[in-house]
């Protein structure tokens, strides 16, 4: 059995916690997010040949009230950026967090989840922003659970392979 640490990063209210809450096991309440700024969850991913236990560090969305604790990123084997499909500004936040994470932990597998895709008022993907990210993008829905399992599996597989998901991966899923 392999264990990996991953982080969930994204702006305030993008639905990081909701995204995983249906799929993870957590013994901590949500108030940790607003107090300590992180909540640990556990997600087991079965990759067929091997099972991976992901320790998911659900980090509090950075906003004007709370800063990201950079130290929480340390030791992460990969991370998931989450943006809100209904708010374009959350993509900018994600880009900034991506930059910070890169600075803190270097090049590790990363995926972008565009959440709340079940809602109608979604913005069009900005090509330039996508280029900046250089990572696979998935459209997810915390409400329906669409693509959530797949996203974690893809990230886990990428981390095991020890390669960047810059090209290929589940990129096709977008």
């Amino acid at each position: 059995m392999i264990q990996k640490k991953i982080c969930m990063l994204g702006g305030f209210g993008v639905g990081k916690t909701s995204l995983v809450s249906r799929f993870v096991h957590s013994i901590f309440s949500d108030k940790y997010l607003t107090t300590v700024g992180v909540k640990i969850e556990k997600k087991s991913v079965d990759l067929g040949s091997q099972q991976v236990d992901l320790m998911v560090w659900d980090l509090h969305g950075e906003d004007e009230f709370q800063k990201l604790h950079m130290s929480y990123l340390r030791g992460s084997s990969g991370y998931l950026l989450v943006v809100d499909a209904t708010r374009r500004s959350t993509l900018d936040t994600a880009l900034m967090l991506h930059a910070k994470a890169k600075w803190a932990i270097g090049e590790v597998p990363v995926m972008l989840a565009i959440n709340k895709t079940d809602l109608d008022s979604t913005w069009e993907l900005d090509g330039a922003a996508m280029d900046q990210l250089k990572c696979p993008v998935v459209k997810t829905s915390a409400k329906t659970g669409d693509q959530v399992e797949e996203t974690f599996a893809a990230l886990a597989r990428a981390m095991l392979d020890g390669r960047s998901l810059g090209e290929g991966g589940v990129g096709q899923a977008t």
Binding site: Q3, K5, H25, V38, M55, H69, G75
Partner: protein, 591 residues
């Protein structure tokens, strides 16, 4: 080899070019001249390469060195592991003995150690269970367990445990991932992988929040009776969940364990990518950190000492009380006997300064109280006594004192009853009279009585039985009557004494008589003259208790009515009549 090479050489040529051509031949010759030796070498090398037996020999030559060279390479271990496993399995299946023999020196001590450890902990827990199932404390704990609904074992643990390291985590420093975990039941924390991560997060949070200098970090948390101690190493941290209050020595134990783990598994820690398998090897070091320290039991010991002391004290008190009660009972017996003893009056008694005391009155004639002390079972000197002398009115003592004082003649017995001392038996009148006088001086004696005939009455009776005879026709006494006159006179003196002693009085009438001869006118004066004549002879001194009268009554009261001379002689007489006072008369009437 060259011959074989030559054959090889020719064969393709012969095969490839039938119908030889001179140019080809010369070329071939040229070639053999130019590269002949190399071709031979090449051919030989080819043959060598294709021969498996030769290859095997070659590889066998380099294999030990090759393995030695890559001994530390995990890839080699990984590659060899399956084969070795299969080989070992096969070997055991075929004959387990060689492997068992080989492992024996290792397994023997390990098994012994494990058994000893299990037995020791079992004995310890058994001891505690036995101890705690019987004591007063245990009852209290059972009550607490009942009230709180917690298992009894937990209550016992809470109360007897000083501290116990329940759980130890080895956490990868960088990722916060749990590498290894050991625990002793009951496990305080589950979902330890999440807890490890959160612990790491909280440490980061604290360090970020308080902006401490490098190296300073959270090394302890405390929640109620649980605390978490954390020892930080370069690549890993060792966290322990401690129940109770851990002394600094526990932190030192963690520090040592973490150092050894880094020493043993430094490479693995650095290269950690998520596979925790290598850290199984850290378990012994971590298990060494699962320390349990029970509260030292001076409390129990002192409780036992106190209990023992209490038992001894109770026993002593019991013995003391027993002897005390027994002594008290004996003393009471002694008092009862004293009370029953005549002439002893107890005024107060009790216990003073560990000694019994008794105070009261004692007649000098009463029994010596000290002779009763031993009789009651008490030791000499265990009773202090103070006796004031007094005279008891107990009949025994009154009688004794009377006997002492009156000295009754032989045959006379004294009795005392209700204030009256009575003498019985034949006693001289003088003694009786003297006793009557003296006896009231004896305490308790109101009166002395003589049980026999009243002396007054006796004397009176004697006097009255006597007569003094006179010659015929004469008033003088015949000489033969002198003795009789003296007797009467003596009796009258006695009577006078008795009467005087008693304060009584009496009257003695002396009466003269005649016989019937002669005339009454003659006999009357004669009889009177006879009385008168006798009176001075018997009269007691004047002023005595007796008054005398002398009268004559002629022949009217003859003592004998006969007419013979003898009758007449007995009638010529003087008689006496004693009249005692009323009191005396009354007494004379008693039997």
């Amino acid at each position: 080899m060259p011959d074989a090479g030559g054959e090889h050489e020719r064969k393709p040529n012969g095969h490839g070019h039938a119908g030889a051509d001179p140019v080809d031949d010369s070329l071939s010759e040229l070639r053999s001249l130019l590269v002949g030796p190399e071709r031979r070498d090449l051919t030989a090398l080819q043959a060598h390469m294709l021969d498996p037996s030769v290859q095997t020999r070659d590889v066998s030559r380099v294999l030990p060195d090759a393995i030695a060279l890559r001994a530390t390479d995990p890839q080699l271990s990984k590659a060899l592991a399956p084969s070795i496993e299969v080989a070992v399995t096969a070997s055991v299946r075929k004959d387990p003995r060689p492997l068992a023999d080989a492992l024996f020196p290792v397994m023997g001590p390990a098994i012994r150690k494990a058994i000893a450890h299990t037995l020791a902990s079992m004995m310890d827990s058994l001891n505690r269970t036995v101890e705690h199932s019987l004591s007063w404390r245990a009852l209290q704990w059972r009550w607490t367990a009942f009230q709180t609904g917690k298992p009894f074992a937990e209550i016992v643990l809470l109360n007897t445990l000083e501290y116990r390291v329940d759980q130890v985590f080895l956490i990868h420093a960088e990722t916060g991932l749990l590498l290894q975990e050991v625990w002793s039941e009951p496990r305080a924390v589950r979902d330890t992988d999440q807890v490890s991560a959160m612990l790491t997060a909280i440490r980061d949070f604290v360090r970020d929040s308080f902006k401490t200098s490098d190296g300073d970090t959270l090394d302890a948390l405390r929640v109620g009776e649980l605390s978490v101690i954390v020892e930080q190493g370069p690549h890993a941290l060792l966290a322990g969940v401690v129940r109770g209050t851990a002394p600094p020595s526990v932190q030192a134990t963690f520090e040592n364990a973490l150092e050894r783990i880094h020493f043993q598994l430094g490479t693995e820690l650095q290269a950690y990518t998520g596979d925790a398998a290598p850290f199984e090897r850290a378990r012994p070091e971590m298990e060494a950190c699962l320390v349990t320290q029970f509260r030292p039991r001076p409390q129990t010991a002192s409780y036992r000492r106190w209990a023992a002391a209490a038992v001894v004290a109770l026993l002593a008190a019991g013995v003391w009380a027993f002897f005390g009660v027994r002594e008290r009972q004996r003393f009471n017996t002694y008092l009862d006997r004293l009370n029953a003893e005549p002439g002893i009056m107890i005024a107060s008694s009790g216990r003073r300064a560990g000694k019994f005391f008794v105070a009261g009155l004692r007649d000098s004639l009463a029994r010596d109280p000290s002779t009763l002390v031993a009789a009651a079972g008490l030791t000499d000197g265990s009773v202090e006594s103070r006796w004031e002398p007094y005279q008891s009115l107990h009949p025994t003592f009154v009688t004794a004192r009377a006997r002492d004082l009156l000295r009754p003649p032989p045959g006379v017995t004294l009795e005392f009853h209700d204030g009256v001392l009575t003498a019985s038996g034949s006693a001289p009148d003088r003694w009786i009279v003297e006793s009557e006088r003296v006896a009231p001086a004896i305490a308790g004696v109101r009166r002395f009585e003589y049980g026999g005939t009243n002396p007054e009455v006796r004397v009176k009776d004697t006097i009255e039985s006597m007569s003094i005879l006179f010659p015929k026709g004469r008033s003088q006494i015949a000489p033969d009557q002198n003795d009789a006159v003296r007797d009467v006179a003596a009796l009258l003196v006695d009577l006078n004494d008795i009467l005087r002693a008693r304060g009584h009085r009496a009257r003695v009438d002396i009466t003269g008589h005649t016989d019937t001869d002669g005339t009454e006118s003659e006999n009357g004066p004669l009889s009177r003259a006879r009385a008168d004549h006798l009176l001075p002879l018997v009269r007691t001194p004047a002023g005595g208790a007796i008054a005398f009268t002398a009268t004559g009554i002629g022949s009217d009261a003859p003592i004998s009515t006969g007419t013979t001379e003898d009758d007449k002689r007995r009638n010529r007489r003087a008689s006496f009549r004693v009249t005692l006072s009323d009191d005396s008369a009354q007494r004379s009437s008693r039997p």
